[in-house]
């Protein structure tokens, strides 16, 4: 165990004084990320200015065997940037420069601390933008987006972070700088860029990112459709896709989310509807008009009780504001809420929502559902009150059960928020020992001493054995009625 003060002095030798934070009261703001239910005070926080300083920090930590947790903007929702009590919290917030907007190649070279939205703002004068748009895009950083393979509401058409990043510069745990990917669309050798993207800070520290930029669509238009039954809404989504339309965004909200959002941002949502769909189309003006007509027709034929096209840009933005503010809006209904992030094959939506509803009644906790319907990514928001003893644990158990249900129907425990610490037990439901062991072996290639973000993302086999003992009651798996995939 390292002594805080001694360590601070060591780091002060290699970094300017303001980069080393070690006083207890100054460490507190770093004790959690966006998942505030989990908190730990780090031994020390470092805020380097340059990639070279990151190299030096990692070399030192490697030599001294000090755990390192990298942190971007701290907006993550799975506890991925939860500090280690005996380790360094390495914030990349000061590596925050946009190094180059390359109009000719439609690329931007940025440091990891740059905010997601700032990239699009900087590219705007060139008629370009950066496509992935997680709901936290005002605050979240590109480095964090790479670590989590962040998605957003437009990824059905434009892909995830993975599809929009060309190259990263990575510092290995022993302080060597390597470049993965290329300025071109492919790179030689194994595709290590794909391995780093979404690796939750377990394999290295990203200090520079080259992203793709896309032309800003001439026009975006959105249709809002109301349904009196959530399964009908789900089938409508399938119909839109079956007809060859690839919407830029396709989002669904259930009644509780609709009402919460309407109260919060007054988006003009029909509060009586069991579900609404927001379907956005983008492209050139004339073609958008044509496609909107087709979407309206399909939605009506699929049983929508009401179909509304945004009258103007203000209304379009308002329709989206309701969706983008759904989390905080639901947050107003309850002292605390717990956001889940499972993905399911879309045709199971009706069944899954029905089972979530049953769980909600069983646990006595309300649950609002927000759904990236185009890509099957479900965000159930469990409402609870942490001040009521045992309620957080109940919410966690409820959430865990939802994730295991997602796996049981052929989906996954996390679509875009990452495993972090939060979903580590559910990893045991999704993967078998051989697969987990392969993950650990891959980790050892990059970080044999397990210093980078220890204890996150991939559970130990022992942990799974204990978890399994808890969950398999009398030799029976959960959801025995479901066919296993």
């Amino acid at each position: 165990m390292h002594d805080r003060l001694t360590l601070a002095r060591e780091f002060q030798k290699m970094l300017p004084a303001e980069c080393v934070i070690y006083r207890e009261e100054e460490l507190i703001p770093y004790e959690c990320d966006g998942l505030s239910a989990y908190r730990k005070v780090p031994l020390i926080v470092l805020l380097p200015y340059t990639a070279e300083q990151v190299e030096e920090i990692l070399r030192f930590c490697h030599r001294q065997q000090i755990p390192v947790v990298a942190r971007g903007a701290g907006t993550g929702l799975s506890g991925g940037a939860l500090p280690h009590e005996e380790g360094v919290l390495l914030s990349l917030a000061r590596l925050n420069r946009i190094l180059e907007i390359d109009n000719d190649n439609m690329q931007a070279r940025v440091q990891p601390g740059v905010r997601n939205l700032a990239v699009s703002e900087a590219a705007k004068p060139y008629g370009l933008y950066y496509a992935p748009d997680p709901s936290s895009q005002i605050a979240c950083s590109i480095g964090g987006n790479v670590a989590e393979n962040a998605g957003g509401v437009h990824c059905l058409k434009y892909g995830l972070t993975l599809h929009n990043v060309l190259q990263v510069t990575l510092i290995t745990i022993d302080g060597e700088k390597i470049t993965l990917g290329a300025g071109s669309l492919d790179a030689p050798g194994l595709d290590l860029l794909t391995l780093i993207t979404g690796s939750e800070g377990m394999l290295g520290v990203v200090v520079e990112v080259l992203v793709k930029l896309l032309p800003i669509p001439e026009r975006q238009q959105v249709v809002l459709a109301a349904f009196d039954d959530i399964e009908t809404a789900g089938n409508a989504v399938a119909q839109v896709i079956a007809k060859g339309i690839l919407p830029a965004g396709l989002e669904m909200m259930d009644n509780l989310s609709i009402r919460a959002s309407e109260d919060f941002v007054h988006a003009g949502y029909p509060t009586e509807a069991a579900a609404i769909l927001l379907c956005e189309v983008d492209g050139v003006d004339a073609e958008v008009s044509e496609e909107i007509m087709r979407v309206r027709e399909i939605l009506k034929q699929s049983g929508a009780t009401e179909v509304r096209t945004a009258m103007d840009e203000q209304e379009r933005i308002r329709f989206w504001a309701g969706r983008k503010n759904a989390f905080p809006a639901v947050g107003r209904l309850s002292p605390d809420y717990y956001c889940m992030d499972g993905t399911i094959p879309r045709h199971h939506l009706g069944k899954v929502l029905k089972m979530i509803d049953e769980m909600s009644q069983r646990y006595g906790l309300r649950c609002a559902n927000v759904f990236h319907a185009g890509d099957g990514n479900l965000h159930p928001l469990i409402l609870y009150d942490a001040n009521n003893p045992g309620e957080l644990e109940q919410a966690e158990a409820f959430g865990g059960e939802i994730l295991e249900l997602c796996v049981a129907v052929g989906g996954t425990i996390t679509g875009e928020h990452g495993v972090g610490l939060e979903k580590i037990n559910q990893m045991c439901a999704q993967f078998r020992d051989e697969e987990l062991e392969t993950f650990h072996a891959v980790k050892r290639v990059f970080d044999p001493l397990t210093l980078l973000n220890p204890g996150k993302a991939i559970p130990t086999l022992n942990r799974c054995a204990e978890f399994g003992a808890m969950h398999v009651h009398a030799g029976k798996l959960r959801f025995p009625e479901l066919e296993r995939f």
Binding site: G159, T172, D186
Partner: protein, 355 residues
């Protein structure tokens, strides 16, 4: 399909035996890409019989198939529902399997707009070098549980394991695609193309050789008229779908040359000061060069422009075909090989000499 067969178990025992005897295997689908990469070694293990579409749900935009399933079968099935493999995998000699397409990682003319095998791969069932069957990823588009080991297989040239099954994201095929042709000096052509891209013209393929250029655009007849007027271009007289397929499969005359054929991957606007006649695709991001110039010269010029070069055909297959790696990356690659294939039985030396 009557040819559908699940050979997982016999492949598993073949791998276990080979691992036990430390006997290298040469993984083989249709063999349509056996010219690609370094010299083949090891005992051939055919994956072509392990075939069949396992599931296809058009409204989910996902297809799952066994490795040996012919691309033709997959693409025909998708076409019935108006969908496609958006990375347009090449079918050299008209053949190719889905496993081979993923392992080689090659994409056709649609690549910059339709993605690559790696981009569209959602999940795999992998037979590793110890004969274990492992599942990574899944059938859903968003999935960040665990490291993305399925996509790591794309372009790995079969060196990490056998792809027993793959789930792939598919996309709707554009209702209409048109080809415009024009003649112009290269700089003029690139400026025009860049302007079209920035202005959001839905380009889905480009081709340039000498002063002849072609652009494929997915749009309505009416919009095509507007584009023609705005950019001063003429549509081709005859339908061009055969042209793009020929380009994808390297049936174009350019590929009949006997000199070593280099595949250069570059940032699209990179200026490359190199002698020789270049065929451009991907709005400049992919360039083909048939030349006898020394490898070292080509690689260093391309590297200077943040790109890389692969000796694609007609080269000395005992030398390095793929671009040399940074020493540390080479070490990481070898260690990853150890993880998946500790006995080194899968396609040894096909990708890199020491790996």
């Amino acid at each position: 399909m009557s040819n559908d067969r699940d050979f997982s178990q016999s492949l598993q025992s073949a791998v276990k035996d080979a691992a036990h005897d430390v006997r290298p295997l040469q993984l083989m689908g249709h063999g349509s890409k056996s010219f690609y990469g370094r010299e083949l070694a090891g005992e051939p293990l055919s994956l072509a019989e392990h075939r069949g579409i396992i599931s296809y749900e058009p409204t989910e935009l996902v297809i799952t198939a066994r490795a040996g399933t012919p691309l033709q079968e997959i693409e025909d099935t998708l076409l019935e529902k108006g969908q496609m493999l958006s990375f347009e995998p090449p079918r050299f000699d008209g053949k190719g399997t889905i496993g081979g397409a993923i392992a080689a990682g090659l994409s056709g003319p649609r690549r910059p707009w339709g993605g690559s095998p790696r981009d569209q791969l959602l999940g795999i069932k992998l037979l590793d070098g110890q004969g274990q069957i492992l599942k990574f990823g899944g059938q859903v588009m968003k999935n960040v549980a665990g490291y993305d080991l399925s996509r790591l297989m794309a372009g790995a040239m079969g060196t990490l394991g056998i792809l027993l099954e793959a789930s792939i994201k598919v996309l709707p095929k554009p209702m209409q695609e048109h080809t415009l042709t024009f003649s112009a000096e290269q700089p003029t052509a690139w400026a025009l193309l860049h302007k079209m891209l920035i202005e959001g013209v839905p380009i889905t393929a480009t081709y340039s050789l000498d002063n002849n250029h072609k652009v494929r655009i997915a749009c309505s007849q009416q919009r095509l008229g507007e584009i023609k007027t705005r950019y001063g271009l003429e549509p081709s007289d005859k339908p061009q779908s055969g042209f793009w397929q020929g380009l994808r499969d390297q049936q174009h005359d350019y590929f009949k040359q006997q000199s070593p054929l280099w595949r250069l991957s570059l940032p699209p606007a990179a200026k490359l000061d190199i002698e020789g006649r270049i065929l451009y695709e991907w709005s400049g991001g992919l360039r083909w060069l048939a030349t006898d110039r020394p490898a070292r010269e080509i690689r260093s010029l391309v590297e200077k422009e943040s790109g890389h070069a692969i000796l694609f055909r007609n080269g000395d297959r005992r030398g390095e075909m793929f671009h040399p790696l940074h020493p540390r990356i080479s070490v990481i690659q070898k260690q990853l090989k150890q993880v998946f294939d500790p006995q080194g039985i899968f396609n040894p030396g096909r990708h890199y000499e020491d790996y």
